[in-house]
Each structure stands twice: as C-alpha cells, then as structure tokens.
C-alpha cells in the first residue's frame, strides 16, 4: 500500500470516529448545546480541554520553533502551560460558581452593564476569530500535504468537517469528540518521539532522552547538538540569545492570554461542581504536559536528524552529495517536502554537494520551521503508518481547537448579543438556530481569511493571545477579587487594554496586517526590545490601572453586586445557581 492510500485510510477512519460521536451526542436543549448539561467528568473534561487547547500551533508548529531557537523557545513551553495555574486559582472555581453559560455574561452581570457585556463580546470575537484563522491555515497546509491536494481544496474540506460536527453536536458533541481527538493527537505525537528517542539515546521516554547520552558520540545529546550547530556557524542551542526583558514579557503574555481565552474558560462551566472546576484545570494540564514535556525532545532530536541528513559523515566532513539527495531512499523525505515548496535546496556553488550552515551566501538548504513535526517521522525513516498517524494527529489538533473557538463565538453572538439585547423573547429553538447560523458565518469568515491569511499562523495566534491577555483576563480577575471596580471602570479598562495592544501590534505588523504600513519591526521594536507578540501583558497592566483610577473617580458598586461577589467566592450553593 502506498503512503497516500495509508494517509487517506488513517485520516478517514479518525474522521468517521469524530463525526459518529458528534451525531450520537446531538444536543437537544440550549443548556445541553452550550454546556453539555454540566455532566462532564473532570478527567474527560481535562482531555477535551487538552484537545481544545493544543492547536496547530502546539502540535505542528512548536517543536519546529524549538528545533531552531533552542532555549529561547522555552517561552512557549512555560507560557502555554503556566496559564493553567492562574486559571485554577484565579478564575475557574468562581466562574463555575457564578453558574451561567458565557464569559460576557459574567462580565455583563458583575459590572451591571450591557455595554460591558457588549465590549466583552467584541474582545471575544476579535481574539477567537484571529485564532481560528491560524487553525484554518494549519488545516489547509496539513490536508494539502497528506492528501496531495492543493491548499485551497484542503482548506475547504477542513471547513466542511468543522462545520458538520460543531453545528450538529454543540458543546456535548464537541466535548466527547474532543476526548477522541485528544487520544488521537497524543498517540500521534508521542509514538514517533519514542522511536526517535530510542534511536538516538536508547531511552524510550523522550523527555528523559533529551538529557541522556547520544548513543553514537557517548556525550550528552544537548552537548552534541551544541557542538554540531556551532560547527555550522549557528548560535548555541542551549544559550540565551533573546533579551531577558522580551522573554519575560512574552512568557507572561502567553500565560495570562491562556487564562483569558474564552474557549478555554468556558470548559470550566461544564463541570458538575466548584471542586471539579479546580481539579479540571489540573487534569487539563496533565494531558497537555504529555505533549509539552515531549516537544523539547522532538525539537532537539529533529534538529540533529536534519543535520545528519546533510552531513551523514559528521559536520567536519564534506556535505551530502546532490545525487544522494535525488536518489537515495533515506532522503525521500527531502524530495517529498520539496514538492510543497516549504523546503528548498540549491547547489549554489556547483560543487555537487548541499551545504547547510548559518552563512546566507553559502547555505544551500532552506527549511520552513512548520514542517518539522510533520516531516519528523519521515526524516527518521519510521514506518508509513506512523507518518499517516502524525497527519491524523495534526488535523485533530487543528480541527478541535477551531471547533471550540467557533462554539465560543456562536454562544457570544446568540446568547450575549441576540437573546440579551436584540430580541429577548427569542424562543429556545430560535436561539439554537442563531447559534448555528453565527457558527456557519464565523467558519465562512475564517475560511476566507485562511485563504489569504493576514500573516504567518504563529503571528495571528500571538495576536489572539495578546488581545485576550489585555482585555478579558483583567476584567474577569478584577470582577472576582475586587468589589470596588464598577461598570465604568471595567469598560474603560477593557477598551484601553484592547486598543493599546491592537495599536502596538498594528504598528509593527502593519495596519490590519497590510505589511507595508508598519512603522516598526519586531527586529527593531518601538519600545526597548519588546516585540509586538509580547505586548499583551503591558496592555493588561494598563487595563488594571485604568479600571482602578476610573472606578475610584466614579460612583461605587451597588450593594447587590457586592453580594454577588461575596457569593461567587464560596462554593456553597453552586448547584442551585445552575437551574435556569
């Protein structure tokens, strides 16, 4: 059986599974559509949150970034996990106690203001749609490579699949579908990593293999990697090359962005009790960390294997011959990825060899970082079924996150805009219809923008994090931990956080991502060494300061709001609050 048929079979089988689950769990009432009747066990909810959380950025992109940036990329590892500590302690239990359906609903009630609710909906939609665009781009790339269709066709197939199960199933469909997707993606991620760790270090656990000795050199694998990359003129793998300031701010932005992204927070509305909300965050991180502890090993080992392809005799010997790349079976992966245009080789000096080094003039290999995870099993010459499995895993990651985000968007529109403001008398059936229509519209918009993305997927995803960090997270936190913040303060804070972050990003990436309108670049940023992706935490600080100053200067919060804050701080009585 050839690789194409195998990919088709494995990917097809997983899709049949997801859609089957969605149809089986089709939602009836509105309560079920949004929050699965609040009957989801913390462990299952943790797995679903894991699938929701780990998108194309984590699965497809992150190990590649680590492979080429080494230590500097630790910001992603800490940033995309540390937010769960904040969620578990600062947000999840109280929002569960509050006992409603959506994030804007909490902000609207706590700050007794329709304006606050509407501003929260706007923040949510901007952050979520930018995030979905990145996922759609990822879906398109993965489909086009593994099903051997063009990028546009891949994107349309992906959009159709997302539409089917998100629209038919609602949250319950998504919860159980996402449990299945988690299982597929974690198996797909770890199996090739285990194979490669065994090949290079003899240790079957990749996370331990990273700190073990290389079976060929006998030296620690990270020391071998440092020597190898430095011999080719690259910066050391374990050294720090970014500024401490930017690393600090970027990590913090990713952390509080995690705790401010509505599609993650909404997960904690679906557990039975407040105690479950706390442990659900822990279970989510258990399942997420299985991938995150493996990713640094995948990155480092992929970099070594990549270099070995081009220097089979070692970096002190001449590079691989072009004829070897063109014909040898172990170099088939180079030829495969050349077809996608994401990997290019050019024998510039005509010596019949392909050199790979840090010198722009003599380097003859160009590799897109995003192909590393997908190409990894091919580089290590693993069996065909492993390659097919990785394809299915990458698609599971991208599709599950897209579906969760679409759910958050549709409930914000139908529940927080239409039902609460435009037409309060809408029937339950009408509300469901509105939710499904807004989902379809969001998919259409994201698919369209995915065809002509505003930038690389990673940039788009970073924008989503910065926006969530600067607008939603501070509003939620102040709503729980301070009784003083009033309606005007919260609205002013959210608007200041959102606009400063958006403007800083547009100044560096171009207004509405039209690149030639940018005034600064991330290589040479406007303020110190702060890149546009790291600004979210500064927007959040401005949000906090604005909210405190404005609240201090305006009328205090009413008695019943202070009581509401008191009541969400204790778990007692959470059951009653869920009765709608």
């Amino acid at each position: 059986m050839d690789q194409f048929t195998l990919n088709l079979l494995v990917v097809g089988a997983t899709f049949v599974l997801y859609i089957g689950i969605a149809i089986w769990a089709r939602a009836g009432s509105t309560a079920e559509f949004y929050a699965a009747g609040r009957g989801v066990h913390p462990v299952l909810n943790g797995m679903a949150t894991g699938a929701d959380w780990m998108s194309a950025a984590s699965f497809i992109s992150m190990a590649g970034i680590i492979a080429f940036s080494g230590y500097d990329a630790s910001t992603y590892l800490m940033g995309w996990t540390g937010g769960y500590v904040l969620l578990a302690m600062l947000l999840a239990p109280y929002l569960r106690k509050f006992g409603k359906f959506t994030v804007p609903e909490f902000i609207g009630d706590r700050f007794y203001s329709q304006t606050a609710r509407t501003v929260a909906v706007i923040c949510l939609i901007i952050a979520s749609i930018t995030y979905v665009i990145g996922q759609m781009t990822g879906v398109g790339v993965a489909f086009s490579r593994f099903l051997e269709v063009d990028n546009t066709t891949g994107l349309f197939i992906g959009a159709a699949i997302v539409f089917l199960y998100a629209v038919l199933g609602g949250m319950k469909g998504i919860t159980y579908t996402q449990v299945a997707q988690y299982v597929v993606l974690i198996i797909a991620y770890t199996i090739p990593a285990i194979f490669i760790s065994l090949q290079l270090t003899g240790n079957p656990i990749p996370a331990l293999g990273l700190f073990s000795n290389d079976v060929n050199t006998g030296a620690p694998i990270l020391a071998t990697l440092n020597d190898t990359v430095e011999a080719l003129g690259f910066k050391s793998y374990t050294g720090q090359h970014d500024t401490t300031l930017n690393m600090f701010l970027f990590t913090m932005t990713l952390m509080i962005g995690t705790a401010g992204l509505p599609h993650v927070i909404v997960r904690f509305f679906t557990v039975p009790t407040v105690a479950d909300a706390r442990s659900s965050a822990g279970w989510a991180l258990v399942f997420i960390s299985l991938l995150y502890l493996t990713a640094p090993a995948v990155g480092a080992m992929a970099r070594l294997n990549l270099i070995n392809t081009f220097y089979p005799e070692g970096v002190s010997q001449p590079a691989v011959e072009l004829s070897q790349i063109e014909t040898a079976p172990q170099n088939l992966w180079v030829r495969n990825w050349e077809k996608t245009g994401l990997l290019t080789i050019a024998d510039k000096n005509g010596d019949g060899r392909i050199e790979y080094n840090a010198n722009k003039d003599t380097n003859e290999l160009d590799v897109n970082r995003d192909i590393i995870t997908l190409a990894n099993p091919e580089i290590a010459n693993l069996p065909g079924w492993v390659i097919a499995l990785v394809a299915a895993g990458g698609l599971a990651a991208a599709l599950s996150t897209a579906a969760g985000l679409l759910m958050a968007i549709s409930s914000a529109v139908s529940h927080d805009l239409i039902k609460s403001q435009i037409n309060p008398n809408i029937s339950e059936k009408g509300e469901l219809l509105a939710a499904r229509i807004s989902m379809a519209v969001a998919i259409a918009v994201a698919t369209y923008l995915g065809l002509n993305p505003p930038g690389f997927a990673a940039q788009t995803v970073a924008l989503a994090f910065g926006l969530a960090a600067s607008s939603i997270f501070p509003a939620l936190m102040m709503g729980i931990f301070s009784k003083k913040i009033n309606n005007t303060g919260a609205v002013a804070g959210m608007l200041v956080g959102l606009t400063t972050t958006l403007v800083y990003i547009f100044l560096h990436k171009g207004w509405f991502f039209v690149a030639d309108t940018a005034s600064f670049s991330d290589a040479n940023p406007m303020i110190l060494s702060i890149k546009s992706t790291s600004f979210g935490v500064i927007g959040a600080v401005l949000n906090f300061i604005t909210a405190f100053i404005v609240s201090g200067a305006t009328k205090g919060t009413p008695e019943e709001i202070q009581e509401l804050v008191e009541s969400i701080r204790v778990p007692k009585g959470a059951g009653a609050a869920t009765d709608h």
């Binding site: 590892l77 020391a223 440092n226 374990t238 600090f248 105690a275 701080r569 778990p571």
Partner: protein, 85 residues
C-alpha cells in the same frame, strides 16, 4: 449561604494560599527558567544547566503539583469553613 464571618475567614485563607502558590509559580518559571538562570549555571544536568531544565520541563512539573495541591487544600478549607457544596 454561610454566615459572613466564616466566609470572610475562608476568603482570607484562600488569598493567603493563592499568594504563596503564585510565589512558587513565579520562582519556578520566571525565576529559575529565565531571571535566575545565570545563577544556576554551575549546576550541570545532561549536557546543559539546571535553568535550561526548569525552562523546558521543570516549570511544567511544578505547575502540575501546584494545581493539584491547591485543589486538595481548598477542598479541605471548604469543609473546615462549612462552605462546601
């Protein structure tokens, strides 16, 4: 609804727990992983130093322990103050 004095004491105990845990959270990631890494450079592990390990693996493990310890401690506090569900 629990009486006010009990829920006040409960909330203060919760805030103290959160503060302590956030200090650990900060030290394990931003501290050992980034700011204090030069100080840990002398402690070697698998071809690199302890700061690298914290940044790429250790911080995540600390986060896990923190969340489950917090959940366990809060369940205990809930019962002690009679505010459990």
């Amino acid at each position: 609804m629990a009486d006010k004095s009990s829920s006040n004491a409960y909330w203060k105990a919760n805030i103290r727990t959160i503060q302590l845990f956030l200090v650990i959270w900060f030290v394990a990631s931003f501290g050992f992983g980034i700011l204090l890494r030069p100080m840990l450079a002398g402690i070697k592990i698998g071809g690199t130093d302890l700061g690298f390990w914290f940044a790429q693996q250790g911080a995540v493990l600390v986060f896990l322990v923190l969340i489950f310890t917090y959940a366990w401690r809060m369940n205990k506090l809930d019962r002690e103050h009679g505010v459990e569900e």
